[in-house]
Amino acid sequence: MLVLRKDSRRGPTWPDYFADRAGVIQDPLLAGYFAAGCPAPETPIAEVPLVALDIETTGLDPRRAAIVSIGLVPFTLARIRLAERRYWVLKPVRELTEQSVTMHHITHSEVANAPDLAVILPELFEALAGRLAVVHYRHIERPFLDGAIKARLGEGMRFPVIDTMSLEARIHRQSLWARFRRWAGRPPVSIRLHNSRLRYGLPAYQGHHALIDALGTAELLQAQIATRYRPETPVGQLWS
């Protein structure tokens, strides 16, 4: 397997990885997903088809927690297409805890009739194929999907994401000003979805619903690009 590098000058890129996987992968669903390809790192962000993705889980550890729901909305910098939204409630392998019930506004009865992830995988891959995923905090969506798919298809998947949280962190955690603030003992600026949105004048949505959070993430990226970047910014500078 190839070793991934963010910088194309130092090694293989996401498009290389996609092309490589499409050739060797066995499962037709996964093969189809990788065959749809991935934009070149120098493509301007304005030209890239995007999909905002949010997963609600029963916990934070992919080895022990399960996926409860998935929401996604296809979009571009110009428009978020709500009519093409998808939302699935899934039957988790492990029982729901009371805490996760209140957290995600999903009840036991909803979950009782829900399908397993395997059933909706074809639709999920169809929605994701050819689109660059946008998430808020990539350490949930990527490992959970990878683990859950590996458990069902025998092979996992890795994919590039634009993480709106790390874009916020670049400004509020890694900048010189942010370091100065920290040195001065000021509390760090919150980079959670809700707080990040408010900084751009975006409305307060009720959080912790996979589809609303996906919509909220899509709006946040539009706001971030409009404020901090340019439509011509190469996608390679944004993804990870």
């Binding site: 428009r79 978020i80 709500l82 009720q206 409009a226």
Partner: protein, 643 residues
């Protein structure tokens, strides 16, 4: 409904015109929107670009401009834009730019068209078929018919009720305890299913009849019945009752027809109260008709002044009953005229008969029959040409002073411009008055006319009608012939302009500045009345009322088709908005004024007001163009005045 779309659905469902649309359509709308974020200063719709969507502001603010770059409107959260272009040639006619960082929901054209087709209110709002203002005025009218005061409004409490097996003594005790003057007698359900109902414990009852104070006197005490007699033996079967949604007027007729003083009020089959004749009389005393009658019964100026609270009450009543601005304006003017007349009658009684005939005339809103509750007095005296100042003026000064003081005491404050009969300049014989009008009309300058335009609304209040009629004739025949005069009047009519509209809690001016309040008279009704007056003078109309003047203007080609209707709707809406806010002030026990604060203006009212301001603004532009200052050639020695 997808729970996940509630965020979108709930927001849209609160804002006009989406606040009226059906639930399933709203669901579909929420599921179909496209979303986009715009940084402050970025273009949303560019001039002449093709449009396929209606814009809805979820957060932020958007500025709409005209083709030439002038500010057209400033929109905030919950407002829509782009419908104008969507309904016409699908090219952007009013470019839109983000004023603040904004989140916009876009509604696809196909769905927009469906909303127009399926929802009449939505179609009216986007002015598909008729101007929004016209719909709003029509809607107000429709409500008028429904708002005839229902008899249930007079009820203050539930009726006292007893079983027919109760003794007359027990019933009398109940009446005393509840301080009531009539009791309803209930029995087992029987022959009158119309008055059968179930109580809170589901027991069926029939209302058998009513027993009043006088029934106890006549049927019990006078007959020498024992206190133990059951009320069932005393009550007369055959109930005369009225339904709670009938009008007060109908209740009164019902009492007169049946010669009863108590009338049980039913909601369907259940008794909900009893109205007494005195309730109806108390209600009617607040009517303007009663008030006018009462004015003429007063024997002193002091007595008239005491009626001021009644005038306010009558005003509030008319607003609550849903009267339109013409009805209210005319009723208040009638009250004002009646007070002036009565004051003159009382003054004559005291000062003796006038030495020469005179006519007391009103100017301004009273002459136009458009008086409001907040008004000053504008009046003058036209005297017979036999008037000799040396001999007669003391009498007329005393007369004028009494009326003026009396009016002031009733709340018609002294005129700040001193246009009152107490001013010797405005207490002159007919010949002098004619000369005044000739001067104004033949040698006009905007400056000279600035303070005298009020004299071009004039009407008789009391005395020799023919004096004022001659002046009205003079104005009607001379004014239309003099373009210079019309141009000067038109210029003055443009002195006060409407604002552009509202933005959040501010009044937005045409240059984009914000104000906290707006004087609806100065910025709305007054300039509208001014411009209608100019057109009316140009077409030789004798009418004084603005709506009547518009009727006269309609008989000419002065205005393009449909324009006068727009002016009517705009004037009606502006006048009613002013009246409604004054009624609110009175209800809050504040002094009513002509000012409104944007935060007290409902969403729908703000859209309609903006439309009315727009109509006024366009009409002012036309006025300027229609009555230009004539080009005057240098006066030649022989002709002092050139046409």
């Amino acid at each position: 409904m997808d729970v996940e779309l509630l965020e979108i659905r709930q927001h849209m469902g609160r804002c006009p015109p989406f606040d009226h649309i059906a639930d399933d359509l709203l669901d579909e709308l929420a599921g179909q929107v496209e979303v986009a974020y715009y940084k402050a200063g970025s273009d949303i719709l560019v001039l002449d670009q093709e449009v396929h969507e209606l814009g809805y502001i979820r957060s932020g603010a958007v500025e709409i401009s005209r083709r030439n770059g002038d500010l057209y409107n400033r929109l905030g959260e919950g407002d829509i834009f782009g419908h104008f272009s969507l309904l016409r040639n699908r090219r952007v006619r009013f470019p839109a730019k983000a004023l603040e960082d904004s989140l916009i929901y876009f509604i696809p054209n196909a769905l927009f068209q469906r909303l127009c087709d399926e929802d009449e209110h939505f179609a009216d709002f986007v002015e598909l078929a008729r101007p929004r203002l016209e719909s709003a005025v029509a809607e107000q009218k429709k409500q008028n018919d429904m708002m005839i005061t229902r008899v249930r409004k007079l009820l203050t409490r539930y009726p006292v009720m007893v079983e027919d097996t109760a003794s007359v003594q027990e019933a009398a005790r109940q009446l005393t305890d509840f301080q009531a003057s009539a009791v309803l007698v209930l029995g087992k359900p029987g022959d009158a299913p119309r008055y059968t109902f179930r109580d809170s414990e589901e027991r069926p009852w029939q209302v058998r009849g009513i027993l009043t104070d006088s029934d106890f006197r006549k049927r019990v005490v006078a007959e020498g019945l024992s206190p133990d007699t059951p009320v069932g033996e005393v009550v007369h079967d055959g109930l005369i009752a009225i339904q709670s949604d009938e009008s007060v007027h109908e209740a009164m007729l019902c009492m007169l027809r049946n010669n009863v003083h108590h009338l049980p009020v039913m909601h369907r089959r259940r008794p909900v109260g009893i109205v007494h004749l005195s309730d109806i009389i108390r209600y009617e005393t607040h009517s303007s008709l009663y008030l006018v009658n009462n004015i003429f019964n007063q024997s002193s100026a002091h007595g008239i002044a005491r009626l001021e609270p009644d005038i306010r009450a009558a005003f509030v009543r008319m607003v609550e009953d849903g009267a339109d601005s013409r009805m209210i304006g005319s009723a208040l003017s009638t009250i004002g005229r009646s007070i002036s007349r009565r004051l003159l009658e009382l003054a004559e009684e005291e000062l003796g008969p006038p030495p020469v005939p005179y006519c007391f005339m009103a100017m301004g809103s009273m002459a136009r029959n458009e008086q409001s509750i907040v008004t000053d007095q504008d009046n003058a005296l036209v005297l017979d040409d036999a008037f000799d100042p040396e001999q007669h003026d003391a009498y007329f000064l005393a007369l004028a002073k009494r009326v003026s003081d009396g009016l002031h005491a009733c709340g018609y404050t002294y005129c700040t411009g001193d246009i009152m009969a107490t001013n010797p300049k405005w207490r002159q014989p007919l010949a002098v008055w004619k000369q005044y009008f000739h001067d104004w009309i033949d040698n006009p300058t905007p400056e000279r006319l600035l303070h005298s335009s009020i004299f071009f609304d004039l009407d008789v209040v009391y005395g020799e009608n023919r004096f004022v009629e001659q002046l009205q004739d003079l104005v009607a025949t001379e004014a239309s012939k003099n373009p210079m005069f019309l141009a000067a009047m038109a210029r003055n009519a443009l002195g006060r302009t409407p604002p552009l509209g509202f933005f959040r809690t501010f009044v937005m001016e045409k240059d984009g500045k914000h104000n906290n309040t707006i004087n609806l008279k100065r910025r709305g009704t007054a300039p509208m009345v001014d411009l209608i007056r100019v057109h009316a003078l140009a077409c030789g109309s004798q009418a004084q009322n603005s709506f009547a003047r518009l009727d006269d203007i309609d008989r000419t080609q002065l205005l393009a088709t449909g324009v006068s209707d727009k002016l009517r709707y705009a004037l009606e809406f502006l006048a009613m908005a002013r009246i409604r806010h004054q009624a609110i002030d009175i209800a809050k026990e504040q002094a009513p004024d002509n000012t409104i604060e944007p935060e007290n203006v409902s969403d729908n009212e703000r859209h309609n007001l903006k439309d009315a301001f727009q109509v006024l603004s366009n009409a002012q532009k036309f006025l300027k163009y229609r009555y230009p200052v004539p080009v005057v050639s240098k006066p030649k020695p022989n002709s002092p005045r050139s046409r």
